[in-house]
């Protein structure tokens, strides 16, 4: 058994693709300091992983790690609206983490959300994809789809409501809301 790729070789590859790595990370995260942090973290993670078992394609591994870490950062720090609600003094029931955070890796969350979005009616799905996948503003969405901003907002609200129910019904959010129409009775989750 080989004891892993030599450290100097990994380092050389890292510096060679650092700029490209950062541009991948920048797709997910906007703050420059976050991008730098993640880029640094990538290197550390790759070194650790290489110590355990040799990495066959370090370059590919760097990019995969960069993407995973960026997504994870996104998942952990996405609190725009929940943060606002906390400011409203509505945080007392927010202590428990959702099952989503506790039980699923970020790429699993991505795939769960993707399924929820796929289940939406077409126009609703389009609006939500433009918003959440591409980060377009409500005005840009309205313009692109040639609909009123208020219509775009209605689609977003409807899509969000449906996705929340979709996740709830499948047990992804935990059993905190088991009122009528909540958790399914057939044990499926």
């Amino acid at each position: 058994m080989d004891s892993g790729t030599s450290r100097s070789r990994l380092e050389a590859i890292y510096f060679e693709c650092r700029a490209a790595l950062k541009s991948v990370i920048r797709r997910y995260l906007r703050r420059p300091e976050d991008v730098d942090d993640i880029a640094q973290e990538v290197y550390v993670r790759v070194l650790e992983a290489d110590g355990k078992s040799p990495i066959l394609d370090p370059r590919a591994y760097f990019f995969v790690t960069a993407r995973n870490l960026a997504l994870k950062h996104l998942a952990l720090h996405a609190n725009k609206i929940t943060g606002q609600l906390e400011d409203f003094g509505l945080s007392e029931v927010m202590d428990e983490k959702t099952a989503l955070d506790a039980q699923y890796e970020v790429h699993e969350q991505l795939s769960i959300f993707f399924e929820a979005v796929q289940a939406l009616p077409p126009q609703c799905r389009r609006v939500l994809i433009l918003k959440k996948v591409y980060g377009l503003s409500h005005e840009e969405i309205a313009e692109r789809l040639n609909i009123a901003i208020s219509t775009a907002n209605q689609h977003l609200a409807k899509g969000l409501a449906r996705c929340t129910v979709y996740l709830q019904e499948r047990g992804y959010l935990g059993g905190t809301m088991d009122g009528r129409g909540g958790v399914r009775k057939d044990g499926k989750s």
Partner: protein, 355 residues
């Protein structure tokens, strides 16, 4: 918020859910006015249940940011070609050891622009005469009818569309199509495949013409499937009573009649319809099944060398227009060698890992 007259027919949860979602979207749009802030406090103060739903919905909204991870798979429109280095990128599952790829996102820029709405190619409906729409192998297309109906054509598909004030007739001549049908009581919407008629009213479903059978998957609403007896003269055995299919059902019809009607999970329906985003989803399917499915999307011939390799289980999301990505991923994750055995044919075989 949700208007009062819609309360009937809604469960309390659904109603509160809609109101909560509307608040979340409102918060997303910028600071509340003092009046709105008061109104939100009042709403959230009504019960713990209100607050829980609001917070849970807000959390879902925030967590949905991870969907940005799909921006490299779903192209907004044909993006600036990316660096070649990204072409080789895969995002394999972290769960190493499992014979599952988890979610694999291929970074090759799509050859065809847009898998989403902006790229919808609106075919202006001409009322006169039948019109043919078709796609090449590996291509996707969206046909928008004048009545608001949207038809997604999968790879190697051919349909004939004929619209009159009293009937909307589609002939599925080859391939697979998804129909999101605009409601019009005056003009029934009927898809015909080899004498089997699928009728819809304000619904969404997909139809795939297989070798000598037809598969119907209903995503929303109801459809009716029946035989056009004139297509099977002198063959009474081919006739069957009309069958109603509802959302969540998949049914196969073949020449002798109804083969199977089964219920599938909403996630499974969503996965089955992912081809509209040029994505193929596998959930522990055998490599043989994966290769068979891919063969619909590429003129390349792919053969599997032995039964052991064919039985390897594969899961994850793959771009249907990036077979190179699939092969790279198989190589990296399963030590499957890809050998070229002809001008456009390849053979896959698992090899013992070198290290």
């Amino acid at each position: 918020m949700a208007s009062r007259n819609r309360i009937l027919g809604f469960t309390r949860r659904e109603l509160l859910q809609e109101q909560a979602a509307a608040w979340v979207v409102r918060l997303e749009n910028g600071p509340l006015t003092p009046d709105e802030a008061r109104s939100l406090r009042e709403w959230a103060g009504r019960s713990d249940y209100h607050r829980r739903i609001l917070l849970e919905t807000a959390r879902v909204w925030d967590r949905m940011e991870v969907l940005a991870g799909l921006s490299e798979v779903l192209s907004l429109e044909n993006p600036v070609p990316r660096r070649a280095v990204l072409g080789r990128m895969v995002l394999p599952a972290l769960a190493a050891g499992l014979a599952m790829l988890g979610i694999a996102l291929f970074m090759r820029p799509p050859a065809v622009p847009g898998t989403i709405p902006a790229a919808v190619t609106a075919a202006v409906l001409r009322p006169a005469g039948p019109q043919i729409h078709e796609t090449r192998i590996g291509a996707n297309d969206v046909v928008q009818l004048g009545d608001g109906t949207v038809i997604n054509l999968n790879t190697a598909t051919r349909i004939q569309v004929e619209i009159s004030p009293s009937r909307r007739s589609i002939l599925l001549l080859q391939g697979e199509a998804y129909f999101d049908v605009a409601r019009d009581e005056q003009a029934p919407f009927v898809v015909t495949v080899d004498g089997t008629e699928i009728s819809a009213m304000g619904t969404a479903f997909s139809v795939q013409k297989l070798g000598d059978s037809v598969e119907v998957t209903v995503a929303e609403g109801l459809v009716q499937v029946k035989r056009d007896n004139a297509s099977f003269p002198g063959d009474p055995a081919a006739r069957f009573e009309p069958v109603m299919l509802r959302a969540g059902q998949v049914a196969q019809f073949s020449k002798p009649g109804v083969e199977e009607v089964r219920e599938i999970e909403p996630q499974a329906i969503a996965r089955k319809l992912l081809w509209q985003q040029k994505i193929l989803a596998f959930d522990g399917n055998t490599l043989q099944e994966v290769v068979d499915e891919y063969s619909r999307y590429t003129p390349l011939k792919i053969r599997i060398a032995d039964a052991e390799t064919a039985a390897i289980r594969v899961g994850g999301y793959f771009r249907s227009d990036n077979i190179a990505g699939l092969l790279t991923s198989l190589k990296q994750n399963f030590a499957i060698e890809v050998r070229q055995i002809g001008a456009d044919s390849f053979e896959l075989q698992r090899v013992a890992r070198a290290h």
